[in-house]
């Protein structure tokens, strides 16, 4: 079935088709319509799930802890300050190895007050043990929610997954989406079966007891192994998905026009489509540029990046976030450290699209020209560029 839906609605369809048993969510801009869509599906009887209206995001995720421990498939979604309020149960979700799927409709963090887009909320919790997948368009929103359950519930993984969709640029953007058939989704995604811990009144167990450091260290190592396993499992999940639904997303990182590339652009989220357009344009000028769409930000696909960037002269990373304290975009510095000791291209960090600012074709085109200059001069004069604050140095306005 073809429908015109926005990103929030696409996520709701993805959740519905995955047949969660329990949903608990608290509305927050720009995720609010997602909760409304899901609640409507439950109210209309289209989705047979327990919809729990909670008084906060902290409760939303805590409700899902109980539900997941009792063997339920669970779903929630949040943004920005809501995610902040979730921080305590957020960590516990992953350290308890609960396969919760949560959409983060990414939004800027305060202060100053902002309700608009930006990936600051999601990237800031990158080290809390969840898997994070960032998507480019509404079809990918829907498909990735379904894939997320297969990944989360894989016995080699057993970890919660965030599907991160850009606030407004995806959540409120409407486009054509194919809604998969339920039978196909059922074929792809078997029901959840919790093997290890399960709350059962007939066989009472204590979950999360006080644990000494030595044992806790074992848990941390196994958690990390679960994350590492997710890299391989996700490739298989994506391939299986492609076979059933005819849409394959190239797993953790999608390379685009990289075959003979000398310059590479790295993007994450909705800006990736614009990057494709501008890479095509630069190719028409004869520039050997390609781009990598980073889908799996956690675990960070270090090995694959090393392989894909082997022999590349210059790499530019556009970040819709900042790393306070590392003083660059977050993906930039993570990629830079991943490449250390391997082939190390010249690299520059571009910060753009904060607080709902558009990342236009002009932005991406300007970034490519900047990278060409670095390739010619073989030096990086300025490592971190704030795209929208340095407009006077660009040849033309970034909106053109």
């Amino acid at each position: 079935m073809i429908k015109v839906v926005d990103g929030n609605q696409a996520a709701a369809f993805g959740a519905k088709l995955s047949k969660p048993d329990v949903i608990a969510a608290y509305p927050i801009t720009p995720q609010t319509p997602l909760v409304e869509y899901v609640a409507t599906m439950v109210a209309r009887g289209e989705l047979d799930a327990e919809m729990v209206e909670v008084e906060s995001e902290h409760s939303a995720l805590s409700v899902l802890h109980g539900a997941a421990l009792a063997g339920a498939r669970t779903f929630t979604a949040t943004s920005s300050q809501g995610l902040s309020l979730m921080y305590e149960p957020y960590f516990r979700t992953s350290t308890l190895r609960l396969p919760v799927v949560m959409c983060i409709v990414t939004r800027e963090m305060i202060s100053p007050q902002s309700v608009w887009g930006g990936q600051q909320d999601a990237v800031t919790v990158r080290d809390a043990g969840w898997i994070q997948l960032y998507v480019e368009n509404n079809q990918e929103v829907l498909d990735t929610v379904i894939q997320a359950y297969r990944l989360a519930e894989d016995k080699k993984v057993m970890l919660p997954v965030n599907v991160c969709l850009d606030g407004f640029y995806l959540s409120h953007m409407a486009e054509k989406v194919e809604i998969p058939e339920q039978d196909d989704v059922d074929r792809f995604l078997p029901p959840l079966k919790m093997d290890y811990i399960k709350l059962d009144p007939k066989e009472p167990i204590s979950v999360d007891p006080l644990t000494p450091g030595g044992l806790l260290t074992h848990y941390r190592k196994k958690h990390m192994e679960g994350l590492e396993n997710a890299k391989e499992v996700f490739e298989a999940v994506d391939r299986d998905f492609g076979e059933i639904f005819g849409r394959y997303y190239h797993g953790k990182i999608e390379p685009y026009r990289m075959d003979d590339a000398e310059i590479a652009l790295v993007t994450m989220g909705s800006m990736s489509g614009t990057a494709r357009v501008m890479v095509d344009k630069a190719r028409e000028r004869g520039v050997k540029v390609g781009f990598l769409k980073l889908k799996m930000f956690r675990p960070f696909p270090k090995e694959e990046f090393r392989e894909l960037l082997e022999g590349i002269d210059v790499v530019g990373v556009i970040d819709r976030n900042v790393s306070f304290g590392f003083s660059s975009g977050t993906v930039f510095y993570e990629l830079k450290s991943a490449l250390m000791g391997h082939h190390e291209p010249l690299m520059a960090s571009f910060i753009a699209g904060l607080g709902g600012m558009d990342i236009t074709k002009g932005h991406v085109g300007t970034v490519i020209r900047f990278l060409e200059k670095i390739q010619q001069t073989k030096r990086v004069e300025k490592e971190v560029i704030w795209m929208d604050l340095e407009e006077e140095i660009w040849e033309k306005p970034l909106t053109r």
Partner: protein, 188 residues
Amino acid sequence: MIEIRIHGRGGQGAVMASKILVSAAVLEGKHGSAIPDFTFERRGAPVKAFVKIDDQYIREKTQVYTPEFLIVLDPSIKTAVDYYEGIADNCTLVINYPKLPGDVPEKVKTIGYVDANKITIPLFGMPMVNTCMLGAFAKVTGLISLDSIKHGISEIMEGMKDEMLEKNIHAAEVGYKEAVIVEYKGRD
């Protein structure tokens, strides 16, 4: 690619109109994307919505800066917003106005006007002009058929009461019928 910008006030349905246009384009086998301008969501505040339509899939998720088509749901916002900003040469203006508007820049080559307030206030009790203006848009531009607009209304307004749906479809039909098209040669 065709780029359309819709200007109105919060509550007039600019964002819904943008989605209806995409739904209508998709029905005709095209691709489309609609993005609202994310300013303050308040009734009465100036709002914008951006629509792109193309034969190919639209990859860029960006706003519209140089529209060839402009839909103005409420011309009174011009004290707050320059809705002509960035318009392309050969722009087509579809405006909710009872007569040919003055003060139109020369880049506008075609004007379609319709008194959508007069049509919609009796129907809805308020100037909810979006669907009426889409009917006018279909006639003035010929880009999308009225039937497709009606389909778009049914898809995007799914879940609304039948009576509301019928009223909106009626508003689109009247907007289509009553829109006046003027080839604009600049100011006299």
